[in-house]
């Protein structure tokens, strides 16, 4: 198959000066001096520098040697933590700032939706602003004339199109801005987190438009934190980490690796004999969230098992029971369940190392963070409780339909719907 490159980035590096050793100009120097005299911190040091590995002396390398190529018709996802260099890369691609080293070559008209609706004039009407915004984004007046009706229809604010934009709600401004940008017909479209706005209906329109753009053989760069959107839209993903390309490949592989790395949850805990919670007769030794593939993140559809490992040291009648409380990220108790409540086979537990487990089916819990609280009972009475056991996250990577916002609710069971 013939390949047509539309973007080629070679050894791109971008440096920001931190300037704590002194400014580049007299003005900066005076600024630093004045701040010092008032006992304030150096105003030239940017706030919130997290990735220390990117700092070399007084310089901050937002991008350290980034090279990649994009072919015509690809929908390339760009993911990474905050501060990984995504925004800097986008700024370079949309020509807002220049690289310190390296070259980026591009073919065709490039449009970026870094922020839709920038350049609106509040005094002018929506219609006038369509022209102004379109022209800022590089459209010719004749081109806007042709598309005007489509743009107004797409925005869904026909009734207010002749009112000044200062009377618009922020939602209306975004819709108008996106409507203009969606009709740009660029060869390369750069999109940054625009899906975070608008209602479901508008999102559906936007995604539909994006898919149209991609199907007509144009190229999309899509930057997002929303893994489900990246997963279902992108054909390839680049993962930026500390200003460099950490991984570049198939969407499935990169998203999976990314989610694994940033899962901060300890889904397995083991305790040494002296630190183990419990009573002298009964000690908790291990708790784990187990699933078929240990390295994969848990997605909404995946079943998993919560396993409780313990050592019975001195309880001979074996009348023990274990219960779990599962709380979600909003600290709502999602469910409470116990072993003897549901198990058909609950023999007395002899001395020694034992395990009790609970299988949680897939397609039940909504995507969220979860933590597990363990209760241990003896003869129906609470023996001890461990608040701090395991935690896990259910990811939402595969989704049908078009809504990419967060689904509400504790549960998201697969339900049968019908109509009559």
């Amino acid at each position: 198959m013939e390949r047509t490159l539309v973007i080629q980035a070679e050894g791109v590096r971008k440096r920001y000066r931190l300037g704590q050793m002194g400014g580049a100009t007299l003005g900066e120097d005076l600024n630093v001096w004045w701040a010092k005299m008032r006992g304030k911190p150096n105003p030239l040091i940017p706030i919130g520098q997290e990735n220390d590995s990117q700092r070399v002396g007084t310089d901050f390398w937002a991008l350290r040697d980034v090279s990649f190529e994009v072919e015509k018709g690809e929908i390339l996802g760009i993911i990474g933590k905050n501060g990984a260099g995504k925004s800097t890369l986008l700024k370079l691609l949309s020509r807002i700032t220049l690289p310190t080293e390296g070259v980026i070559r591009m073919k065709g008209r490039v449009s970026s939706l870094l922020e839709v609706g920038t350049g609106f004039n509040p005094e002018l009407s929506g219609r006038d602003n369509i022209y102004l915004n379109g022209a800022i984004l590089g459209m010719k007046s004749a081109e806007i004339d042709r598309k005007l009706e489509d743009i107004i229809a797409f925005s869904g604010i026909e009734h207010h199109i002749d009112s000044p934009v200062k009377r618009y709600s922020s939602g209306m401004k975004v819709r108008l801005g996106f409507a203009v940008a969606a009709h740009l017909e660029p060869e390369i479209l750069i999109i940054d987190e625009v899906l975070a706005v608008g209602d479901a209906e508008f999102q559906r329109k936007c995604l539909g438009k994006m898919k149209d753009v991609a199907q007509s053989g144009r190229t999309i760069l899509f930057v997002s934190h929303n893994m489900s959107a990246v997963h279902s839209l992108c054909t390839r993903v680049i993962w930026l980490h500390n200003g460099a390309v950490r991984m570049d490949g198939e969407t499935d592989d990169v998203v999976r690796a990314y989610l694994n790395t940033y899962s901060e949850f300890s889904d397995e805990k083991t305790w040494s004999a002296d630190a183990a919670p419990g009573t002298p007769e009964l000690k908790l030794t291990r708790m784990a969230v187990e699933r078929s593939n240990k390295d994969a993140p848990i997605t909404w559809a995946d079943p998993f098992r919560i396993a409780i490992g313990f050592r019975n040291i001195g309880i001979d009648d074996g009348d023990l029971n274990f219960g779990i409380h599962v709380y979600n990220g909003e600290d709502i108790l999602a469910f409470a369940s116990s072993w003897r409540e549901w198990s058909t086979d609950t023999p007395p537990i002899p001395r020694g190392d034992r395990t009790v487990w609970c299988d949680v089916p897939g397609e039940l819990l909504n995507s969220n963070d979860y933590r597990v609280v363990l209760n241990c009972f003896r003869q129906g009475k609470l023996l001890f409780r461990v608040e701090d056991t395991v935690a896990f996250e259910i990811h939402d990577t595969k989704r049908e339909g078009v809504w990419y916002g967060k689904k509400k609710g504790v549960f998201r069971p697969r339900l049968k719907w019908g109509s009559a």
């Binding site: 390949r3 490159l5 080629q8 920001y16 100009t25 003005g27 900066e28 190529e69 700024k91 370079l92 691609l93 949309s94 020509r95 807002i96 700032t97 220049l98 690289p99 310190t100 080293e101 390296g102 070259v103 980026i104 070559r105 591009m106 073919k107 065709g108 008209r109 490039v110 970026s112 870094l114 922020e115 920038t118 350049g119 004039n121 005094e123 002018l124 006038d128 022209y131 102004l132 022209a135 800022i136 984004l137 590089g138 459209m139 010719k140 007046s141 000044p164």
Partner: protein, 286 residues
């Protein structure tokens, strides 16, 4: 890897682009934006005012009235031969335009920071559009000058014979626009680093007016050597004296105009050079 010849790429982003080579082709591509920005300036300016575009005429008239009373009648600074009202109006109109261009274009980066850090287009579009919209205002006010002259000729017994030098009017207007634009973009580029300059500009422009023949005719300053030199050094002095000479007769100051032209060319070249450097690093500074 497929090798592509350089000719197939439309955009090549490199660390630094030659600052002395403005991309005119790209500027031309965005001409519709230029047009729309000019229209925006003109239409949004007087929205939500009762008198609307009438302010275009009222502003110079009120200023002229003030100056006529203060400097013409009370201080007796106006020259003989032409009505003080016409003398002041013919100075105020070009000066207001020049001062407006400098003041507005010098704020290019500061007022448009939100757009400029988000979308790319040739930044020069912004100061150029401001200049053009100011010129449009200027032409309307020049019309006002002609109307007032006409009124004086009809009812005030003022004998007006247009000078043949009026054919140079477009050239003088262009010179005035270039002086304003050059100074404006130079300051706008510098204000991204030194914000204080922004505050200084409006004050400086005001001060510069007193070093021009807007209020005091050049002849009246002639005996004061230092003041005379200062006025002669101001490149706007020949623009204003030439405007008056064209409308009310008198010698054109060709030497002064040549000096002002050189001044404008140097100002625009330096301004453009610094402006182009700053527009590329601007997003990193703000």
């Amino acid at each position: 890897m497929q090798q592509s010849s350089p000719a197939t790429w439309d955009t090549v982003i490199r660390p630094q682009e030659a600052w002395w080579k403005p991309d005119l082709r790209e500027f031309w591509h965005y001409r519709d934006l230029l047009k729309l920005l000019v229209l925006r300036d003109l239409t949004s300016q007087y929205k939500q005012t009762i008198l609307g575009p009438l302010w275009l005429v009222l502003q110079p008239l009120l200023t002229t009235l003030t100056y006529t009373v203060m400097f013409g009648i009370v201080a007796r600074l106006a020259p003989k031969g032409i009505p003080p009202m016409l003398f002041y109006l013919s100075g105020i109109v070009p000066w207001t335009c020049f001062a407006g261009v400098v003041n507005k274009t010098s704020k290019t980066f500061v007022t448009n920071a939100a757009v400029l850090t988000k979308v790319y287009f040739p930044r020069l579009i912004m100061p150029v559009s401001t200049t053009i919209s100011s010129l449009a205002t200027f032409l309307i006010q020049l019309g006002l000058l002609v109307v007032i002259i006409g009124l004086y000729a009809l009812f005030g017994g003022f004998h007006w014979t247009p000078s043949s030098n009026l054919i140079f009017l477009p050239a003088v207007i262009l010179l005035m626009a270039l002086l304003g634009l050059g100074a404006g973009i130079l300051v706008s580029a510098l204000t991204t680093k030194y914000r204080d300059l922004g505050f200084l500009v409006s004050f400086g422009v005001q001060l510069l007016m007193f070093a021009s023949p807007v209020i005091i005719p050049l002849e009246k300053v002639a005996q004061h050597a230092t003041m005379f030199t200062v006025l002669k050094l101001n490149p706007m002095t020949p623009v204003i004296t030439a405007t008056r000479a064209m409308f009310f007769g008198g010698e054109m100051d060709w030497h002064g105009l040549a000096y002002a032209t050189c001044f404008a060319v140097v100002l625009c070249t330096v301004g453009l050079g610094i402006f182009q450097r700053v527009e590329r690093s601007f997003a990193d500074v703000v």
